[in-house]
């Protein structure tokens, strides 16, 4: 995978002020204050049901908070999201990519070349004509990343993108995440995998029971976690 080094552009800071989320009387996210800034790789960690995906969907704008507000310092940047189970259209791999270019109003004449370029970059060139839904799990996730790549996002959200993949496919996804980062994209990603967090994260945001317990640099988080729940989580003990 080629990696171009482009100086990270200044990406608008994002602030979540007292953001909370309720669904049918359940408080799924308690009032939360979080900021995302710079071109960092933030990994959101925590046990199932901690509210990781929820926080990300709120930040991305897929969900409206029940309270509080979300503010960008400056114009909201281009964002993209890669989901745990890639949602691919019932078309060929190539058509999945030309589709987003059409949505972006890229002139028709340029779409195919750009799409092929992205397929090439993510090692999918040989699969261009194959229906996206018959690709393997790893190939599908790479296609989802290629699609996000075409959007040229300043902020990329990833919701447990490797949870259903084998080690080789996980490696490919992590390489892709780093390629985005090298290009100057802010990464916000959820994971259960402690090793993955050590490999990828610039900072860790630890959640538990619908609350953000800490947001600290990776080394600091693993050496001196700021909460008993986080240290239990790092030791691999179940936390509920």
């Amino acid at each position: 995978m080629k990696i171009e080094t482009i100086m990270p552009a200044d990406i608008a800071r994002q602030h979540l002020h007292q953001v909370r989320f309720e669904h049918r009387g359940h408080h799924l996210l308690l009032p939360t204050n979080v900021s995302f800034s710079g071109c960092r790789r933030t990994l959101i960690m925590g046990p199932n049901g901690a509210g990781k995906s929820l926080l990300m969907r709120l930040a991305h704008g897929l969900l409206r908070p029940s309270g509080g507000h979300i503010r960008w310092e400056g114009a909201p940047p281009v964002q993209a999201m890669v989901f745990q189970r890639p949602v691919l259209l019932r078309r060929s791999a190539l058509d999945n990519l030309t589709y987003v270019l059409a949505v972006q109003r890229v002139p028709r004449a340029q779409r195919k070349a750009q799409a092929l370029n992205a397929l090439e970059r993510f090692g999918l060139a040989a699969l261009a004509k194959r229906p996206a839904r018959v690709l393997s799990g790893g190939e599908q996730q790479r296609l989802a990343l290629a699609r996000a790549w075409l959007l040229n996002p300043s902020v990329l959200f990833l919701d447990e993108p490797t949870s259903a993949l084998d080690p080789a496919a996980i490696k490919a996804v992590e390489d892709a995440v780093n390629a985005f980062h090298q290009q100057g994209t802010r990464i916000i990603m959820t994971t259960h995998d402690l090793h993955q967090a050590r490999r990828l994260a610039d900072e860790v945001l630890f959640m538990h029971g619908g609350q953000v317990l800490e947001q600290s640099p990776t080394e600091h988080f693993f050496e001196a976690p700021g909460s008993p729940q986080a240290s239990a989580f790092i030791r691999g003990e179940l936390v509920w």
Binding site: R57, H60, L62, Q79, A80, M81, F83, V87, L89, R90, R91, S92, Y99, V100, V103, P131, A132, R133, V134, L151
Partner: protein, 234 residues
């Protein structure tokens, strides 16, 4: 039973004889039903998709009404179109009553609710799967409609066939608004009614077999097309 009384023999003789009158009746039947289904699709596919995507007050009432209209008796639809198009009716000056156009209008009214209601179901389940991804890509609900319709295309083919089945099988509506005029508005189903009432049961049954074969052929073609495409696209 003499050979001429055997409906299968009659059907075979009708087909092999390439009877010009039979040919005209079959052509007219197919023309009317296919045009009706085409017009109904143009209206009902976007309508069904819109109903799947938009949340508005009274949406559930609209869905229940649409589902109920799937069971609209053809004679009632025929009667309504008859009243609209008759000389004294609001659209009387169009002079469409007892013409193939009137039959198309009546069949559109019968087929539209079926295609719209079933499209709504198909698109709604696909929308559940696609919604977050499409919104993440920045699509408005309006822009989602063509995407969802295209990606639901295999399921929608069955929906359209259900509509075509309704159109080609019904007799009440085309009888009332078409009048079963020989050479003008006589179709397969109205001929069958006529031959039955005349007591010419072998011919009636023969026509029935021809009609059934045609519908089967069209469904088989659609099935082969969709299965091949499905296998290729996963």
């Amino acid at each position: 039973m003499p050979v001429s009384d055997n409906p299968f023999y009659t059907a075979l003789a009708l087909i092999l004889g390439m009877d010009q009158r039979l040919f005209d009746i079959v052509t007219l039947s197919l023309q009317i039903s296919l045009i009706a289904v085409l017009v109904a699709c143009l209206l009902a596919l976007p309508l069904g998709a819109a109903l799947a995507l938009w949340r508005f007050p009274g949406r559930n009432i609209v869905i229940v009404m649409l589902n109920a209209l799937m069971g609209l008796p053809p004679v009632v639809a025929g009667l309504c179109v008859y009243l609209l198009l008759s000389r004294a009716g609001p659209l009387g000056q169009w002079g469409l009553l007892f013409s193939p156009s009137a039959m198309v209008i009546a069949q559109v009214i019968l087929v539209l609710p079926i295609i719209a209601a079933l499209t709504r179901q198909q698109v709604e389940s696909l929308h559940n799967e696609y919604d977050e991804q499409l919104r993440s890509l920045g699509l408005s609900p309006l822009r989602m409609i063509p995407t969802l319709l295209w990606d639901a295309r295999f399921g929608l083919l069955t929906v359209i066939l259900a509509g075509f089945g309704r159109a080609s099988a019904e007799v009440g509506a085309v009888m009332i608004v078409g009048g079963n005029i020989d050479g003008v508005t006589r179709v397969m189903t109205t001929s069958i009614v006529l031959e039955t009432s005349k007591g010419n049961l072998p011919l009636a049954l023969g026509l029935g077999i021809v009609l059934l074969s045609l519908v089967t052929l069209i469904n088989a073609l659609a099935h082969v097309v969709s299965e091949t495409a499905k296998r290729r696209l996963g």
